[in-house]
């Protein structure tokens, strides 16, 4: 059983609240739910929609066709009716509030009204909402899907919640940020939790202030984290290089969206892998990790804290809007890697320094410092191999290998379910896992990436000498995430027997 619902309307009409409400109700009943958000850079008006796909098996992505359209405005029908399956239906109600629609959907899906009532108690304007919801519930006469109650304990969370949980569980002391989609939810979430968990969250005047303040707090020994998206990260890169020479620990959450420049501000893309790996002038060690779901986001954030503290390096957690703001179903408990605070306040420098921390231009000393940084890189490489730095799914012995990283994981796992495919998900982009070469060598390698140039393919070529044929690169660069049914067809076309 798989059922997909699209909720569309103007910004301000509340399609996101509506679908989140239903998603949570479905989760509480033991269903597996995946919900993505598509919204414009508009506060009131325009067109926003969410898509929920739910199933009695684990699901990590949406499909291209929908069973039900919930249209808060007429425009939703115009824009999306092509996606409706033959037997699909549309719920409309011009001028009605969003809880009217909630009532109708719950009735349609045979979810007890009591459940909706309990959920509404947690929102504002209960009286008004419950009245609207009841009206909707009584209006709806059809039933398109029987909702059974399963006794599974499941959680509904998005990637940014995973990053935030990871930071809190890693013992973050300070989080600095300047708001930028799609990283903003992390500062919001952490700000709300700062007093209860005793850490500090501060919004500063710009991203340059953010990273320099973070370096300041990091050298006092505080576990410090910052968050931004591509443009903000660009502003930070001079100071990223400073962390390289001063060897200060810092965790950086980089949540991508399509560039160049302002690009498509509220949509998704994986165009910043090269940026994460190469940003900052000069040569210095760093960690770049990319989670593919909220649990991995928690785990890899804790590993970023570990590496940054242990080795005094910047550690970048690379995500994107699709992972950051889509909601996933999880029943796993994240495996958190603990980290000690290793940094002492002493004399730090943006110059090369001698053994007393004083600036130096001495060539022997420069060589010594450079070689120490290189040696540290080697230690980091070895340590990284002790972690789960990539994952394998599907038929381990298949001739066909799909490679990817980050938020494409969900659609790929759903797409290759019934295919003869091995899926290699790269978790560590820097240092790059040594064993990847063996996993893909001699196979029919297919790349899936939300970018125009396939940056992971370039990285694989650099690290393994293996080139992926251009025809085998499945690239999407319209700002939208992959949908598993379409992706499955794309992969099938490239399979070898």
């Amino acid at each position: 059983m798989k059922f997909t619902i699209l909720f569309g309307g103007k910004a301000g009409q509340g399609p996101n609240i509506l679908s989140t409400l239903l998603g949570q109700a479905l989760i509480n009943q033991g269903h597996y739910v995946f919900m993505s958000r598509d919204y414009e850079s508009v506060i009131r008006g325009g067109h926003n929609f969410n898509i929920i796909t739910f199933s009695d098996e684990q699901i990590y992505s949406n499909e291209s066709k929908v069973d039900l359209i919930v249209a808060l405005d007429e425009n939703t029908v115009v824009l999306h009716k092509k996606k409706l399956k033959k037997e699909g239906s549309i719920i409309q109600g011009e001028g009605k509030g969003n809880m009217y629609f909630a009532g109708r959907i719950y009735k349609l899906l045979c979810i007890d009204f009591k459940i909706l009532g309990e959920q509404l108690q947690e929102l504002q304007r209960f009286e008004e909402n419950i009245k609207d919801a009841m009206e909707g519930y009584q209006t709806e006469t059809k039933s398109v899907c029987k909702v059974e109650i399963n006794k599974r304990k499941l959680f509904f969370m998005n990637g940014n919640k995973g990053i935030s949980d990871g930071a809190v569980k890693s013992g973050v002391d300070i989080y600095f940020a300047y708001p930028m989609t799609p990283a903003t939810n992390v500062i919001n979430e952490l700000a709300e939790r700062q007093l209860e968990n005793n850490f500090v969250v501060m919004e500063l005047e710009n991203e340059i202030a953010v990273i320099n303040a973070a370096i300041g707090s990091a050298i006092t020994g505080a576990k410090t984290m910052i968050g931004t998206s591509g443009g903000g990260f660009d502003l930070m890169t001079e100071a990223l290089s400073l962390t390289g020479i001063a060897e200060t620990p810092l965790v950086i959450y980089l949540a991508s969206r399509p560039g160049p420049s302002t690009g498509v501000a509220t949509y998704t893309g994986q165009g910043d892998l090269d940026l994460a790996r190469h940003s900052g002038h000069g040569e210095f060690p760093r960690l770049v990790v990319a989670p593919g779901d909220p649990v991995e986001a928690e785990e890899l954030t804790s590993q970023a804290f570990f590496f940054s503290q242990e080795y005094g390096i910047p550690a970048i957690v690379l995500s994107d809007k699709h992972l950051a703001e889509s909601s996933y179903t999880t029943n796993e408990i994240a495996m958190i890697t603990l980290s000690k605070k290793r940094t002492e306040l002493k004399r730090y420098n943006s110059y090369e320094t001698d053994e007393f921390g004083n600036a130096t231009e001495n060539p022997e000393r420069i060589i010594k410092n450079v070689e120490e940084r290189n040696a540290k890189q080697k230690k980091i490489n070895r340590e990284a191999e002790r972690f789960e730095n990539y994952k394998i799914y599907g038929n381990k012995n298949s001739k066909n290998v799909v490679v990817s990283y980050g938020s494409t994981k969900g659609a790929i796992v759903d797409a290759v379910k019934n295919l003869d495919v091995k899926f290699v998900q790269v978790l560590y982009l820097e240092p790059f896992p040594e064993k990847i070469k063996k996993e893909i060598e001699g196979k029919n390698i297919i790349l899936v990436e939300n970018s125009a140039t396939g940056q992971l393919a370039k990285l694989i070529a650099e690290k393994t000498g293996i080139f992926i044929d251009d025809k085998n690169k499945i690239l999407r660069y319209d700002g939208r995430p992959f949908l598993h049914d379409e992706l499955s067809e794309e992969i099938k076309r490239r399979l070898k027997r």
């Binding site: 013992g171 300070i174 202030a209 707090s217 006092t220 576990k223 306040l345 420098n349 004083n358 600036a359």
Partner: protein, 284 residues
């Protein structure tokens, strides 16, 4: 050349200063070191202090004052100071910038630092020129100044940092001349102040901006019964010197007021201050 082992007790780093012979930075350095040593004699520990300097001739202050801290990027002294204060609110954080550092590359931070009012002592070595890059105009260079980048002479009026800091809400705004006694005095006053202390040091550059004539135009605000609690008076005094025409240059504290400091605005930081610890000491 590598340096000698720094002394544990005093402020010597063992590094021989590389400023030009006769540079006024020597006078600033002496004043600052005397002032810190006095604080240490009066019971403060060396470890209670932290120093942050930027890039430029002033930045070498870090090389010659043996305190914990960081010689950071050009223009980023203030956010770095803020971060250290948030990391451990018990530190006495001293920031040093040049006029390029403070008023060009780092201007946005300067305004916000005044707004945030963290307990940071900030000293700007203003020689009205980019000296370490051999003589280009900065935002406080006078109209008509000529060099290779502006052979026709500077066309734009300099900014007035004193007025700017008053407008931005700084709670302590002062100017001194690069003279060790004046610096010792103003350092003491800045230390007594609770909040962001902005101190501009007028510093002749003997190679690229030799303004020896400044000295005789200066006068002390103390001698004219200036009311440093009066904002309007402070603004008027600030306007007496526009960094281009040199008639009268007031020195001393233009303005001082009290406002809640950043460390008191966050209960988490207030608690660290009460316990006399930094986040480093928080076990989770």
């Amino acid at each position: 050349m590598t340096s000698k082992k720094p002394a544990d007790k005093n402020l010597e780093t063992g590094k021989i200063p590389t400023w030009c012979p006769g540079c006024f930075n020597f006078k600033i350095l002496t004043g600052i070191k005397n002032a810190i040593e006095r604080e240490i004699r009066n019971g403060k520990k060396k470890e209670d202090f932290a120093i942050v300097a930027g890039i430029g001739c002033h930045g070498k202050m870090f090389d010659y004052v043996n305190l914990n801290g960081i010689n950071t990027l050009h223009g980023r002294v203030l956010p770095t100071c803020l971060g250290m204060k948030v990391g451990n609110p018990n530190l006495t954080v001293l920031g040093f910038s040049g006029d390029g550092d403070a008023y060009a590359e780092g201007m946005e931070h300067l305004i916000h630092a005044a707004r945030f009012n963290a307990d940071i002592k900030y000293f700007v070595h203003n020689n009205q020129v980019f000296a370490l890059t051999v003589g280009q105009p900065t935002p406080t260079t006078e109209i008509g100044f000529k060099d290779k980048t502006t052979p026709q002479g500077v066309k734009f009026p300099p900014i007035n940092p004193i007025k700017l800091m008053l407008s931005a809400g700084a709670t302590f705004v002062a100017r001194v001349y690069a003279n060790s006694e004046q610096i010792e005095y103003i350092f003491r006053e800045a230390m007594r102040h609770k909040g962001f202390a902005f101190v501009e040091i007028l510093q002749p550059c003997i190679v690229f901006h030799n303004d020896k004539g400044y000295m005789e135009k200066t006068y002390s605000l103390d001698q004219v019964k200036h009311d440093k609690t009066n904002f309007q008076q402070a603004m008027k005094r600030a306007e007496e010197f526009n960094y281009s025409d040199v008639e009268k240059i007031p020195l001393g504290i233009f303005y001082q007021t009290q406002r809640k400091i950043l460390e008191e605005q966050y209960p988490q930081l207030a608690e660290l201050k009460r316990l006399k610890i930094g986040w480093k000491d928080i076990k989770r």
